[in-house]
């Protein structure tokens, strides 16, 4: 358990390390204590990063990049959902003359009549539900990433 103290910033270890080691010797080596130490290390790093202007800006840069990746993944899944529900084939995402993406559907059931058409509709509905679940998961992840600086601040 004491090995987890290595996760903490050096300045923190120099100041509180010895005290914490003594405290850990008296505590049972449970999973909860280990988890507390890991969360505490993240909070200690957040304090060190916030205390330095350059590190703080670098942290914000990484946070912005993570938000951008999640927003783009959300845009991708939203486009798929829109294209699956749209009658237009192929569905195109474009801005003026610039084409960003195209979604093309196969025409396998064209000659199979009503039975093939019903099977295709059922498959499309299942895939739409799957897409909606993925979208909900991505939005939850984005909310968590956006709230993470405040959450870390509240751990202090």
């Amino acid at each position: 358990m004491k090995g987890l103290l290595r996760l903490y910033p050096r300045s923190w270890r120099e100041r509180y390390g010895r005290e914490m080691e003594v405290l850990l010797e008296q505590m049972p080596g449970e999973l909860g204590v280990g988890l507390d130490l890991v969360v505490g290390a993240a909070a200690a790093y957040a304090v060190v990063i916030r205390g330095n202007r350059i590190l703080s800006a670098a942290g914000a840069y990484m946070h912005g990049v993570c938000v951008a990746v999640l927003l783009q993944a959300i845009a991708f899944v939203t486009f798929i959902l829109y294209a699956q529900g749209s009658a237009a084939s192929p569905a195109v995402a474009e801005l003026g003359p610039i084409r960003f993406a195209v979604f093309t559907r196969p025409h396998l059931f064209g000659g199979l009549g009503a039975l093939g058409s019903a099977a295709w509709t059922r498959t499309a509905a299942i895939e739409w539900l799957l897409g909606a679940a993925v979208l909900a998961m991505l939005i939850a992840a984005l909310a968590l990433v956006l709230a993470s600086p405040r959450l870390l601040k509240s751990l202090r």
Partner: protein
């Protein structure tokens, strides 16, 4: 000289962060295309890569063009730069 090398390091690290972010975005899109049973095509420069089952002829296909690849990299870098500039300007030491 020290200032210049620090600035170059900063730019290189920012570019590295964008490259890693783009790679993780491609991985995410690949996983989503597997889950949603799609074939995913990504155009990069003159080439293109197609991900998904080669046997999945009946699967729908999504193709991302060069414009999307470039816009994605610019958007990722832009979001990071705006967030960093905002924090740099508004930074105050903790009391």
């Amino acid at each position: 000289m020290r200032r210049q090398s620090a600035a170059v390091s900063l730019v290189l690290l920012a570019l590295l962060a964008i490259v890693i972010a783009q790679a993780s975005l491609v991985a995410l899109l690949f996983v989503f295309s597997l889950v949603l049973k799609l074939r995913l095509g990504i155009e990069i420069g003159g080439g293109a890569m197609l991900m998904g089952s080669q046997l999945g002829y009946g699967q729908p296909q999504v193709t991302l063009f060069n414009a999307a690849t470039v816009a994605s990299a610019v958007f990722t870098g832009g979001c990071g730069a705006v967030a960093a500039a905002r924090r740099f300007n508004r930074w105050r030491p903790d009391r």
